[in-house]
Symmetry: C2
Subunit: 221 residues, 2 copies
Amino acid sequence: MIHVLIADDHSIVRLGIKQIICSLPGNMHVTEAKTFDETISFMEAQHFDLLILDINMPGGNNLQMIQAVKLRQPQIRILICSAYEEIMYALGYLQTGADGYIEKNSPDDDFKTAINTVLAGERYISRAVREQLISKYTRQQDHRPNPFSVLSGREVEVMNLLTKGLPLIKIAEILHLQLTTVSTYKARIFEKTGVKNVIALVEKAQMYQVASHSGEAVVKV
Amino acid sequence: MIHVLIADDHSIVRLGIKQIICSLPGNMHVTEAKTFDETISFMEAQHFDLLILDINMPGGNNLQMIQAVKLRQPQIRILICSAYEEIMYALGYLQTGADGYIEKNSPDDDFKTAINTVLAGERYISRAVREQLISKYTRQQDHRPNPFSVLSGREVEVMNLLTKGLPLIKIAEILHLQLTTVSTYKARIFEKTGVKNVIALVEKAQMYQVASHSGEAVVKV
DNA sequence: AAAATATGTAGTATAACTACTACGTCTATA
DNA sequence: TATAGACGTAGTAGTTATACTACATATTTT
C-alpha cells in the first residue's frame, strides 16, 4: 500500500492528480490537504510515501516547506507541482531536498512518469526544465570563435590563476613576474575576452570549458 | 521516410540499434557506417535525419566529429552512443552540438525514448547522466546549515552586488554607504561564509542558489 | 624586406581595497 | 536587568590593483 499526500489548494487539481495516481498500478491510498498547515498536521499523524506539493499554496511557498516536511518524515519523496515554469524554482527545490518538479500543465503521461520516477527513488525533472538545464551548459555553442583561443600562452597561465581567485601579487610570485606585468596580462585578457571583471571571466571560462579537454598547458599552484 | 545513419565499428551493436529503430513506428531507412570516414562519405552522398554515432570508433573520437557532421548536414540530429559513462563526455558533446547521449548498456526502451526524443527535436540525456547533472546543482544538500542564512540583510545586499562583479565603490554608491563600510561587510561575509575571495563566494552562492526566490531586496544596477 | 601586430616585460602615478579599530543600537540571554 | 553578541556604520593607515606608457623581441602581413 502506497500512501500519497496531495497538498494543493485547488480541489480540481487534487482531483486530477488523484485520478492519475489511481490509474497507476499498485494499491494507492490518497490523502488530500488544502493548506500547508494541514499538510503538516497529516504528516504528524500518519506516514506517507509520497507528497505531491503545490508550492503555490496558502501557508507558504518557499524552500522552508521542504525542510519542514523532511524534518517530520525524512524518507518521504516529494514531488513539487507548480504553475511556475521558471527553471530557477525547480533547481532551488530539488536542491533543498525535493525529488521532482513538474509543471501543472504537463500532460498526464508526464505526471505518471514523474510519480513513478520519484517513487522509484530517482529524481524527476520535466522535459522543459531538463532542456533548460542542458542549455545552461550548452548555451552559446553558436560556433563563434572561442575567445579564449586568442589568448597567448602567458595570458592563459595568468587567466588560470586569476580564475582560482588568486590575487595578482601571488600570481606574480608564482610566475616570477612583476606585479605590474601580471596586471598588464590581466588587462589584455579582459580586453580579448571582452569581460570587465574576474567574475565574468570565470563565467565565460566555465562556459567555454577552457582547458578541460584541450591540450592547454595548465599551471599547477 | 526517416533516414538513419548508424556509425559504429561493432556490427553487433549496429544490428541491435537497427533492430530497435525498425521496431519504431514510421518508415525507417537505416544505413550503416563502420568508420568515421565512411560516415562522412555517406553524409556527403545522401541526406539523413538522424545519426547515431559511436564516439569510440576508429577515425577519431573527439568533439570535432560533431562539427564535421553538422558542417555537412546542419539540420541532422545526432545521438551519441557510447560506452563511456562519464558525465563530462555527455555534456561536452551536447555542448558541441549533439542532441542526445546514451550509454550502450542502456535498456532498449531507453534507446527508443532517446531516438524518439532526438527525432522530435529535443535533447536526450540518460537517467544516469541526468541524475548527475542534477547532483551538480544539488550536491551538498546535506542539510548543513546554509552559510548564507547567517548573513544579515545588509550583508546579503552587498553580497548580491559583489557576486555581480561590481567594485566596492560602485556598491557603496548604490547602497549610499562609505566604501569602508562596504569593505567591512565584505569582510564579514567572507568570514561567515568561510571564503577568501569573491570567486569562491560566487561559487558557493551558486551552490546554494542564494536569493533566487526569497523576498530579499535585490538592488538593480 | 619593411611595416604592422602580437607578445613578454616593466615603471609611475593613481585609484581601489583591506585590516584593524571603534562605536552606538538592538536583541537575545544569563 | 545587566550583558554579551549581532548589526549597521565609518575612519586611518597601509596594501594591492589599475591606467597609461614604454620598449624589445617575435610573428605576420603586405
